[in-house]
């Protein structure tokens, strides 16, 4: 019965708290489980609960607007393809990062990010400020064949994204779920979502057509472009506005809180 010897021998040593631990906890499975549950709960509670408070949690801003239905569709595609496994969305407050990617990311820029997409690995560049950096046609060609635009790229090609379509009623369900989570939408009906999708999609289609690319407003690539072109742009606008107001109102202490009323622009 080697089984018994090695393992039971171990716990028969006799320090005082060893005996205490043995007597009080080791003989009582339920109490041991309760003690373990308490031990593992403290850290999570202390760190996570304050996140829901205005003063201890991430900075908020009333100026940020939720993603449009087409951007929601594009974001779902981004998630589905696992773009976040290679691309981060977080510019750190370091000189080299700001030079490479743009303004560092503020907490309130993520207000409507469900789920968050900060990423944990940069196999490709950060995308937090990619919005507006390249024309729509660049993204179209890049998704079709990354190496046609970026020689040496290791990114997979996504030709099917040019063919496959989005489903407006499916996206309406996403919009309604996000509305239930508290994202403010003017309307969440199938009709409204479909018309929003089409109007924003057609704007992108017309941009693409000036570059000689013909596509339909409900292709996946159009939704993805809508999302990518949105990334970081609202944050940039709010930060610029903040800076302008800060410069005008001399003497007013600069605050990271955002002046409300600068967002809400229709995109």
């Amino acid at each position: 019965m080697a089984d018994k010897n090695q393992h039971e021998e171990h716990q028969e040593s006799g320090s005082a708290y060893g005996r205490f631990h043995r007597r009080v906890l080791e003989g009582r499975g339920a109490l041991f489980a309760v003690a373990t549950t308490l031990a593992i709960s403290v850290g999570g509670l202390v760190e996570i609960v304050p996140m829901f408070s205005a003063s201890w949690g991430p900075e908020r801003s009333a100026s940020v607007t939720p993603y449009t239905p087409l951007e929601v569709a594009g974001r779902d595609i981004y998630i589905s393809e696992g773009c976040n496994t290679c691309h981060s969305q977080m510019v750190r407050p370091m000189r080299a990062e700001i030079l490479r990617y743009g303004e560092w990311t503020r907490a309130w820029e993520y207000t409507y990010d469900r789920p968050f997409l900060l990423g944990s690995r940069r196999l490709g560049p950060d995308l937090q400020r990619v919005g507006g950096k390249y024309p729509d046609a660049w993204h179209y060609q890049h998704m079709e064949d990354p190496r046609s635009i970026s020689p040496g790229s290791i990114m997979p090609s996504y030709p099917w994204m040019l063919r496959k379509r989005i489903d407006p009623t499916d996206i309406a369900r996403s919009v309604r779920a996000l509305a239930r989570a508290g994202h403010p939408y003017a309307d969440t009906s199938d009709e409204w979502v479909a018309s929003e999708l089409q109007s924003q999609g057609e704007a992108i289609v017309s941009n693409l057509s000036t570059a000689g690319i013909q596509t339909a407003w409900d292709t996946r690539i159009v939704a993805l472009i809508a999302y990518l072109q949105r990334l970081g742009t609202e944050g940039n606008e709010i930060l610029e506005e903040q800076e302008r107001l800060g410069a005008n109102a001399e003497g007013i202490a600069a605050t990271t809180d955002v002046v409300s009323g600068t967002g809400g622009d229709d995109r």
Binding site: A2, T37, S157
Partner: protein, 485 residues
């Protein structure tokens, strides 16, 4: 080599065996199969990063979809099944009782395998929630909860009907695994369903990120660390035939580890816009975590005092020693990487991949292999392995593979971290083109592929060795099992 068949009972006896070893065999078989699958996918995605053509031009096989399949397969399918193998085998013996309920054991087994199969289909189809190691869609999350609760009932039921008074240290670690994974999984998975296949988390932005990394880091802590420490506390003393070095150290490091681990999550969000206080708390606790981690390592290594001569010759002990050493190394490296300034360099680079794999291939993998090489001949009542020298070869393939993997990733990570941030004399980026840096990483990534391939080759040798061992006609017990309870 001694031919002493010590079969105490005739094979095929109708007497109810005291322990349910059938379930252990089932989990063991699943471990080997999923281990090969998960690591093969790992090798494929490593190749994708050196030759993009390995994305195969298919929607279902692009890196973004297969990377989560790799992580889920090796964590939940390989490491999960190996934990269950060891837990079901050792807890019955430590508590001197059969599992509480054989049906629950089977439900746990088949439920868990069904979840893995669901993951293997849904992830390549692009059905994901995107949170790392919590990618599976909400219906699968619900299934995980149900299966886990069944496991917990079986686990605590077995403890309740134990035939020994005191709970051995391995059981403490198993218990922290069962409880904490339930808590983490439930709170991180809370989401609002949009369709059957899609949902949005109830948390947003950095709160969502913090909850995810509270989960993510403690998946490492309570899925890949505490159950494996439990396995170490059972199988290392068995293999070494020595009692654990220090009982006091077990008590201190157990409570310190489970209390401290939970706090470390925010080190994944350093330099983000998460409130500074939370980043600092995460960093401080991550550094303090070094102490209980090394407590476990020392307790493991010092258990071998007086048995070091056998470490030279016994592949089981060799693997366990390398495992515990890698545990010590990666739990030193982790706290260092949690220091803000170091993290500023390491974050987002291959260094993190190297760190994870020194823990995963070194600690989790080697501890699993060591345990299995010890367990399988006993479980199947064979005198010895089909080819013990293959276990020796596996040891060397794995060890050299890990070294190639981690060293190449460290070098690659440092290089890309430094080149991303390098400025020239005018204060501008020295490497403004991201892809230039990517190109320079290629030689290191190739070395990683070689290291990973060696590691996988070792696992395949192990699988063949086990297959032959299990199916050999040679009967002979290594372990005496009590005939009745």
């Amino acid at each position: 080599m001694a031919s002493t068949p010590s079969t105490a009972e005739p094979i095929g006896t109708t007497a109810v065996t005291p322990y349910d070893d059938q379930i252990v065999k089932m989990f063991f078989t699943a471990t080997v199969i999923w281990g090969i699958v998960g690591m093969t996918v790992g090798l494929l995605i490593a190749l994708q990063l050196t030759f993009w053509q390995f994305n195969l031009g298919l929607e279902w096989t692009s890196f973004g979809r297969l990377r989560p399949l790799h992580t889920n397969a090796v964590i939940f399918a390989f490491a999960g099944n190996v934990c269950f193998t060891g837990i079901y085998h050792s807890m019955q013996r430590l508590l001197k009782t059969r599992m509480f309920n054989d049906t629950l054991s089977r439900f746990h087994f088949w439920g868990w395998q069904a979840i893995i199969v669901a993951a293997a289909f849904s992830l390549p189809m692009g059905l994901t929630q995107s949170k790392e190691y919590a990618e599976l869609i909400w219906p699968i999350d619900l299934a995980i909860t149900v299966v886990w609760v069944a496991f917990a009932i079986n686990f605590f039921g077995t403890i309740a009907r134990r035939k020994v008074q005191h709970l051995y240290v391995a059981i403490w670690f198993y218990m922290s695994f069962v409880i904490t994974i339930a808590v983490l999984h439930i709170f991180n998975s809370l989401a609002i369903p949009a369709t059957l296949l899609r949902s949005y988390p109830i948390y947003s932005g950095l709160t969502d990120a913090l909850v995810q990394w509270w989960y993510g880091h403690n998946a490492v802590g309570f899925f890949l660390t505490t159950p494996f420490l439990g396995l170490m506390y059972y199988y290392l003393p068995r293999a070494a035939e020595r009692p654990v070095y220090s009982y006091r150290l077990s008590i201190i490091h157990f409570w310190a580890l489970v209390f401290l681990y939970i706090w470390a999550g925010p080190h994944h969000l350093l330099y983000s816009a998460l409130p500074d206080w939370a980043q600092t708390v995460g960093m401080v606790f991550s550094i303090v975590l070094l102490a209980p981690s090394w407590g476990g390592m020392l307790n493991g290594l010092l258990t071998l005092r007086g048995a070091w001569d056998r470490v030279r010759t016994d592949p089981v002990l060799k693997m366990m020693v390398v495992a515990v050493s890698f545990y010590g190394m990666s739990t030193f490296e982790g706290p260092m990487m949690s220091i803000r300034a170091v993290n500023g360099l390491a974050h987002y680079t291959n260094w993190v991949i190297g760190h994870v794999h020194s823990g995963a291939l070194g600690w989790v993998g080697m501890m699993s292999f060591g345990m299995l090489y010890w367990l399988v001949p006993r479980l199947y009542e064979k005198k010895e392995l089909w080819k013990p020298q293959w276990a020796e070869a596996h040891f060397w393939l794995a060890t050299i593979g890990i070294v190639l993997y981690t060293v190449s990733m460290w070098a690659a990570g440092l290089m890309e971290g430094l080149q991303w941030r390098a400025l020239n004399e005018t204060g501008q980026l020295a490497n403004p083109i991201f892809l230039d840096i990517t190109a320079r990483l290629q030689p290191f990534l190739l070395v990683r592929v070689v290291g990973g391939a060696m590691y996988l080759a070792g696992v395949i040798m192990m699988a063949i060795n086990f297959w032959k061992t299990v199916h050999s006609p040679d009967e002979g017990r290594v372990e005496t099992v009590p005939a009745t309870v």
